[in-house]
Symmetry: C2
Subunit: 155 residues, 2 copies
């Protein structure tokens, strides 16, 4: 199953919690309660997000975390890459062309590149501000009809 790591998933969720009240300073403990994620794990993730420049931390009494920039300037890719590292579907796409003495499959590189870009676009096309707006009850049926348009870069 292709999925994000739990930590990346958590990270997006925590960012959403913070973005809902952008003015407030949110403590790890408070966010842990709100999101039902173990406190130490929250701590670790928030620390990562601070180092990535997505959050600002305020130490000391009444300290906590707040967004480093407006929610519409933060994309899902930013959050995910901060936690999970870059989107790089295949080893082929790394810096070293590595062991590409393989026959028969290097025409695939340009295709892989396309696919990888498309995935990044998909992730990058949604901003944090969008994640928290408009919560239609989407469970069930047609609520998702006006959706994508994404993945248009291909073809």
């Amino acid at each position: 199953m292709i999925k994000l790591s739990n930590l990346a998933d958590y990270a997006v969720e925590l960012m959403c919690c913070i973005a809902l009240k952008p003015q407030d300073v949110h403590s790890s403990a408070g966010l842990s309660d709100l999101a039902h994620i173990p406190l130490p794990t929250v701590s670790k993730i928030l620390g990562t997000l601070v180092r990535a420049g997505l959050l600002a931390s305020h130490r000391g009494l009444n300290g906590g975390f707040s967004l480093a920039r407006p929610a519409d300037k933060i994309s899902i890719t930013h959050i995910i890459e901060a936690v999970d590292g870059p989107v790089q579907l295949t080893n082929c796409l790394g810096e070293e062309a590595s062991d590409c003495d393989r026959e028969s499959n290097c025409g695939t590189r340009s295709q892989w590149y396309r696919i990888n870009e498309a995935v990044k676009d998909a992730l990058g096309s949604v901003r944090l501000s969008q994640m928290i707006e408009s919560v239609p009850d989407f469970i069930g049926d047609g609520a998702m009809d006006d959706l994508p348009l994404i993945a248009k870069t291909l073809n």
Copy 2:
């Protein structure tokens, strides 16, 4: 780092090797040599692909594997999902709405859905036949100079 599993990566590569000579029956050992992947691993992956209906197996002497359908009827998604399971970026997207008694983040589901679909589209938009076309004789040296732009976004 967001990446496919090695097995999925290998699977695509093996499928490419087979698709290059669609008439032939390819033995595990031959493919292992060709792709530089350990034989037992090749065996395991090919078995999975057979069960997924992407390959046909021929037992006995001079047996081996061949495509179960034309290369332009097989998408990368087919191969990847056969090995890694469905593309399901977040737990939220699974069948059971699970612990979505979480506050504040369920508006995110419809967004996650969009993102997930886009990723699937990206993977599904490339067919096996495209992966193997235009394979310039790249073995050797500068043959891959015109190859794109790769790893440009990575930094």
